[in-house]
């Protein structure tokens, strides 16, 4: 959570996360560069420079694969949420690994061209009209640019400045980058018919990413947040009061398309936007700890009665007026400006059978 911006926000959990990530990257590169040549005993060995470039390229690809698996895994099973916590550092590291790959490739293949290096990269192969011999380098360059935009706009400042929806839309470039990387690899190194192991590994990685995302989509459609029903002018039935457990939230989708999270604290109900102001994480899936709901993604906290983070933090989310009609919890469709206090409403206790 932010008060004044600092270059990198580290804490003990992030140190552990980053240490494990760095150790895994170092182990992968060491294995690829120093162990695999003797182990595989290639009949057509490659030079050390090419192996180094491929090691960093393969490392970036598998890092990207893991990064893309974390999101759907966390949606499918909450036990994977800790992996989501510091995924940003993972992404920045993947960019620098990919950048090293590009630097090694330029240094080996484009060092002695009579024209400028980048001009040579863009003009050496322009056979865009065929699959065999397609200029796969351009796909790699496009993916690197996308990863660069993602990594270099990963600071919390960017999320607040651009707003989470625009920041997220920008970061959807990761999908285009992954498709481009698949093309870059398949039309590049995998054109070597001897690279059977790499072909299987890359193919399975792509299949895993697709399968996990489709599984997460199906889960969301099967067990997604229920839609609120319109009760009367400007008010909608979000849920029944006995469905909201003490210390937890219940999410409903309003007719405006916005998600509202109804919380019960000390027996009384309050409603705030389901979207955390940090990265639009699902607040309704968070728990109330010390009178504050905690976002399950990155731990941002809000008072559910006024949508404000505790002092000295400045984040706010919109609140919603609510009232009780019998057993029904009615929410006003239009949100209050972020940080507006709404008096909590007393309601019948949660019934465990209907939660």
């Amino acid at each position: 959570m932010s008060v004044k911006y600092i270059p990198v926000q580290w804490n003990p959990n992030k140190y552990v996360y980053d240490a494990v990530m760095l150790a895994a990257v170092a182990a992968f590169l060491w294995f690829f560069m120093f162990v695999s040549p003797d182990l595989l005993a290639h009949d057509r060995p490659i030079t050390g420079q090419i192996r180094t470039a491929r090691a960093f390229g393969a490392c970036a690809f598998f890092m990207l694969t893991v990064i893309l698996c974390i999101g759907p895994l966390a949606r499918l099973d909450a036990r994977f949420l800790p992996l989501l916590y510091n995924r940003r550092h993972f992404g920045v590291m993947a960019f620098f690994i990919a950048l090293t790959h590009a630097y090694a490739i330029l240094g080996w293949y484009f060092s002695f061209t009579p024209i400028e290096t980048y001009e040579a990269l863009l003009s050496t192969n322009t056979s865009f009209d065929r699959v065999r011999g397609f200029p796969f380098e351009i796909l790699g360059l496009f993916a690197l640019l996308c990863l660069g935009v993602l990594a270099l706009t990963s600071h919390d400042f960017w999320m607040k400045f651009l707003t989470p929806p625009i920041w997220k839309a920008l970061h959807f470039l990761i999908y285009a980058a992954y498709a481009a990387v698949i093309g870059h690899v398949a039309l590049g190194v995998l054109q070597d018919g001897h690279a059977t192991g790499l072909t299987v590994a890359f193919g399975l990685s792509g299949a895993l990413v697709i399968a996990l995302h489709l599984a997460a989509v199906m889960k969301d459609r099967r067990a997604g947040d229920p839609a609120a029903s319109i009760a009367q002018d400007g008010w909608e039935v979000a849920c029944h009061a006995d469905q909201v457990e003490e210390g937890f939230g219940k999410v409903a989708v309003l007719s405006t398309g916005e998600r509202v999270a109804v919380f019960r604290q000390e027996g009384k109900l309050s409603a705030i936007s389901n979207a955390c102001s940090h990265q639009n994480g699902p607040l309704g899936e968070g728990r109330i700890i010390d009178c504050l709901v905690t976002c399950p993604w990155h731990g941002f906290q809000y008072n559910v009665t006024n949508g404000r983070s505790p002092e000295p933090f400045t984040e706010t989310v919109p609140t919603y007026d609510l009232r009780i009609d019998g057993a029904k919890v009615l929410i006003r469709s239009e949100p209050n400006p972020p940080g507006t206090y709404v008096e909590p409403v007393a309601a019948t206790p949660a019934n465990k059978d209907t939660v």
Partner: protein, 121 residues
Amino acid sequence: MSFAATLVLMAEIWVWIGLAISALFLTIGIGRVDEDARGAYVFRPLLVPGIILIWPLVLWRWWIIETGRDDWAKRHQPPRAFHAQAWMVLAVVIPLIFLAALAARQSTELLTPPVLLEAPQ
């Protein structure tokens, strides 16, 4: 000038404009648009590469905030539906790219074996 040389030149111009905008934004603009950036200077150099890459977006957001057109409600409307649509498309596109590339692969066994040429007499 070749098309590639033109692209490289355009990229260089883009970077120089981005550098000028980052100097302007990080000294004048950032404190005006974000209270959390006031008095915080150490993190600002970290933003320079990002501003260079997306400076048109930076200028647009700066203008929106300066003119008071920022809509607070939109901050809390995540584009959730896009994930599903994107992966429906990628589930087709990625295997298609992969399989097309493998289908185009040449067998090295079928290539003509290398011949050692005689040195010219």
